[in-house]
């Protein structure tokens, strides 16, 4: 097994408790730091934090005066402080790259230097390179990774529990490799914000435009008020009023036309023009339509039915007589064929007659017999009868055909009438509709229906004249308005009003669209937050056994034996809070509220270790614990010591304690039992103005104990 070594050596000079340069060997997978309080152990952890981050977060809020400097050793002011480390940075699956990292400077300004085999980087480039090397492909920042799951300091031990739930959620997200969810949620929120701003901006623009519209309308109203007070306009208005009174009866005027605005009057005037065109057409067409309609016999449909019956009867008579004629012709032909046969028989029989009758012996007259036979065969009476029937049938057919032609002609005439009547009715409907449409565009005018069968031309004429009078008066009035000095201003204002109204309509339409997209963007942002929480919870299911495992190894509480994390969506943010659970009684609680301080420390330690462990290669390759054993009882300490034996297998472990008893325990527990594994103890023996007095010892390997000594297989 290869050693997990990141820090091989750390050198500190002029930094906090270290005045003189001290070089500390850390080339081991487990380093135990021991020493009484105040000997510089925490300064050592601070040095590593400052080297990596360039600041000490826990102290930054304590510097009250501008000249306070908590970085530089107080005997080396104004500095600079220097922390330097030789590191082994993993590259790919196998390789490791030796790095020298050096930070020098003060609290307010310092410089990082990165040196590897191929390059030397300074300042921001070195900081960037460090982040890439320690957290490759990981969006979690180096400060977050270090302070949340790689460096645990006693003073801020419970920060992991006291942090904001939303920050904890983000951290958990990153550790679980779900930063992409946060990135998406952030993008969705940005989108919603951007759309919201665009909507607000457009809303403000619309409000400004509406204010401008109202202002223009007010100015227009003021101009018009001044116009109304001019004598010429007053005369024109009076004339308009008088005209309206005069034609009131004919037109049924209900409104006071003087109260209409010039635009309304202009529209009204335009509608009158249309109405007059329609009335003109009405006057020219309606009487002739009525007249033509009156000329069409009213009972044409009945007549057409009667004539149709006659046609039918004539056609039936023709059919019947045609059949009779065919029958007669058949009979005549049959009679002719029979007569022909008899004649041929007689002609054949006569030559066979003898001169005397073989019975009575009388003489036989052949010529007489032949003539009688032929006459009998031709049957003239039958032929005559058939000829009479044929003649009668032909006469009937002729009569029926004559009747048919007459009836068909009549039917054709009636159909023309009916078609024309339909055309006239369509035209009447069209005229009525046009007049109704034109009249409806004239508000306040309610003259009675002009177009019925009792058309009153005089009344139509009266309406026409009335409308023309009104139109003239309006023209006169509008001309009077235009001719005043205010007319130009009015026209300008009208033009402005039209323009601003168009812009109002355009911006209002745009606002409606923006509001819709803003709603959808806001819905997406809210949904992505809640969705992220559910995905984190699902992913956390895989992490849960680990957290429970670590907590159970330290076992701080007799009843609350399970540590868990709850994630939910609170105040539009994902939030994660730790809870402890008594599964036997199904009771759950916030450990910070119910646990004693030492127990809460163990919860914090469990959370810290579990998250650091769970994130595997996504996290930093070391874990630093500055005196995590304070206030723990022996059983908890033993549990942590055993846990550390497994933890060093994954990450370089640096742990400190001020208690000699616990230090001895850690030294025993972390002694190497595997070939190639090293454990170093840094003994902080004391402190004077030069800095800590540190002795470095390597704990002898106990690899020989890896073979069983007690549980020996039976021979």
């Amino acid at each position: 097994m290869s050693e997990n070594i990141f820090f091989r050596q750390v050198a500190i000079e002029g930094f906090r408790g270290f005045r003189d340069r001290v070089e500390v060997e850390t080339d081991a997978s487990a380093i135990v730091i021991t020493g009484a309080n105040g000997t510089g152990k925490t300064s050592f952890f601070d040095a590593i934090q400052w080297l990596l981050l360039g600041d000490l977060e826990r102290l930054s809020s304590m510097a009250r005066r501008p000249r306070d400097d908590y970085i530089v050793n107080q005997y080396r002011l104004p500095g600079p402080a220097v922390v330097e480390a030789e590191l082994l940075v993993k590259q790919g699956a196998e390789g490791e790259m030796p790095i020298t990292l050096r930070r020098s400077g003060r609290q307010k300004s310092n410089l990082l230097e990165w040196v590897d085999r191929s390059e030397r980087l300074l300042g921001p480039e070195a900081e960037r390179r460090l982040q890439e090397a320690l957290l490759p492909g990981n969006s979690i920042s180096l400060p977050t990774a270090l302070l949340k799951s790689a460096l645990l300091q006693q003073d801020v031990m419970r920060d992991v529990l006291e942090a904001k739930e939303s920050e904890r959620f983000q951290h958990l997200n990153a550790l679980l490799g779900l930063e992409v969810l946060s990135a998406f949620e952030q993008a969705a929120k940005s989108l919603a914000k951007e759309r919201g701003e665009a909507t607000a901006q457009t809303g403000a623009q619309l409000e400004a435009l509406r204010a401008e519209q109202e202002g223009t309308e007010s100015r227009l109203a003021a101009v018009r008020l001044r116009q109304q007070q001019l004598p010429a306009v007053d005369v024109a208005r009076s004339r308009l009023a008088e005209t309206a009174i005069r034609v009131r009866a004919a037109l049924g005027i209900t409104d006071d036309l003087r109260s209409l605005s010039p635009e309304s009057l202009a529209s009204f005037r335009q509608a009158i023009a249309v109405e007059l065109v329609v009335l003109d057409e009405v006057q020219s067409r309606w009487p002739s339509v009525l007249r033509e309609l009156g000329e069409i016999p009213p009972s044409s449909e009945d007549s057409l039915r009667e004539v149709s019956r006659q046609i039918e009867a004539a056609e039936e008579a023709i059919d019947e007589q045609t059949q009779i004629l065919a029958e007669v012709t058949r009979e005549q032909n049959a009679l002719r064929r029979m007569a022909d046969q008899v004649s041929r028989l007689a002609a054949d029989a006569v030559p066979l007659l003898s001169d005397r009758c073989p019975v009575c012996g009388q003489a036989i007259d052949r010529e007489t017999i032949e003539r009688r036979l032929i006459a009998g065969a031709e049957a003239p009476a039958e032929f005559t009868h058939l000829a009479e029937r044929e003649e009668a049938a032909r006469a009937e057919i002729d009569r029926a055909r004559t009747a048919l032609e007459t009836a068909q002609s009549t039917a054709s005439t009636i159909r023309r009438w009916l078609a024309r009547r339909r055309e006239l009715e369509v035209e009447m409907t069209r005229l009525r509709d046009r007049l109704a449409a034109a009249t409806s565009a004239l508000p306040g005018i309610t003259f009675p229906n002009l177009l019925d069968v009792n058309y009153d031309e005089e009344r139509t004429q009266s309406v026409t004249v009335g409308l023309k009078s009104i139109a003239d008066s309006i023209d006169f009035y509008l001309a009077a308005l235009r001719s005043t000095d205010e007319g130009a201003l009015e026209r300008q204002l009208l033009s402005e009003l039209e323009s601003v109204s168009e812009r109002v309509a355009e911006v209002a339409a745009r606002l409606e669209l923006l509001e819709s997209t803003e709603r959808r963007a806001a819905q997406l942002a809210a949904a992505s937050g809640e969705a992220a929480v559910r995905i984190v919870q699902k992913r956390f299911t895989a992490l849960r056994p680990l957290i429970r495992d670590v907590y159970a190894r330290l076992d701080p509480h007799p009843s609350f034996k399970v540590l868990d994390l709850h994630s939910d969506f609170y105040r539009l943010k994902g939030a994660t809070r730790p809870v402890v659970r008594d599964e036997e009684e199904d009771v759950e609680a916030d450990p910070m509220l119910i646990f004693a301080s030492s127990q809460a420390n163990i919860v914090a330690l469990s959370y810290f270790l579990a998250l650091g462990w769970a994130s595997g290669d996504r996290n930093l390759p070391f874990v630093l614990m500055d005196d995590p054993l304070q206030s723990m009882d022996d059983v908890n300490v033993l549990g942590l010591a055993d846990l550390c034996r497994f933890a060093r297998r994954q990450r370089q472990l640096i742990i400190s304690t001020h208690e000699a008893r616990f230090a001895a325990l850690l030294e025993r527990k972390l002694a190497s039992r595997q070939p190639g594994q090293r454990t170093i103890v840094l003994r902080f023996l004391g402190w004077d103005r030069r800095g800590p007095a540190i002795v470095t010892e390597e704990i002898p390997s106990q690899v020989e104990l890896s073979e069983p000594r007690v549980a020996l297989p039976a021979n």
């Binding site: 809640e530 495992d549 159970a552 007799p558 769970a614 009882d633 994954q650 106990q702 104990l705």
Partner: protein
């Protein structure tokens, strides 16, 4: 005389199999006066004396006998620094309430670190989960998450967003654009 579960009981067999799978060597130790046999298990980090009893009373009775025997054998075998890694593990399947006297007595054993460290657990079933929970101290930490085995978070996000009432078309488009640009500006 304590009633220890026989070596072929399911609980003892499962414990043995689990320890063997974790690289422990196993043997046994006969206790005096027909007190039964302790299972001995050892790897490079730990030396365990394991006693499994039918009841808590049996466990309480076994404790002093087993502790003495284990201390003695460790002493006899000259284990050196490994003496600090010796644990007496006492398990019983009997369930006990966590607020009674029995629980207090069990807790007292766990807090007794004289001679050897003790881990005493009640309500231990014969299933692996239950045994792993009881023996957790001696087992490696679980594996960290293997991201390659997990579903793509953006695929999950698309489904989850749609469940929140965002139209399927909107959610699919948003995810598609985000995959390409890492932004939603063009949605």
């Amino acid at each position: 005389m304590t009633r220890m579960l026989p070596q072929d009981s399911e609980l003892v067999r499962t414990v043995s199999a689990l320890l063997r799978a974790q690289g422990f060597s196993l043997s046994s130790l006969d206790l005096a006066d027909d007190g039964g046999r302790l299972l001995l298990a050892e790897n490079e980090l730990f030396v365990l004396g394991l006693g499994v009893t039918a009841t808590l009373d049996d466990l309480l009775a076994l404790h002093p006998i087993a502790a003495s025997a284990l201390i003695e054998v460790v002493h006899d075998r000259a284990v050196g620094a490994k003496q600090w890694d010796v644990y007496l593990v006492l398990l019983t399947p009997e369930e006990i309430p966590e607020d009674g006297e029995a629980f207090q007595r069990l807790a007292a054993i766990n807090y007794d670190t004289s001679g050897v460290r003790r881990i005493a657990r009640a309500g231990v079933g014969a299933d692996v989960d239950s045994i792993e929970t009881a023996m957790r101290t001696f087992l490696p930490l679980p594996q960290s998450l293997d991201e390659t085995q997990l579903p793509d978070p953006l695929d999950q996000l698309e489904d989850e967003i749609a469940l929140q009432g965002v139209s399927g078309e909107d959610s699919a488009r948003a995810i598609r654009v985000f995959r390409l640009t890492r932004s939603l500006q063009d949605v």
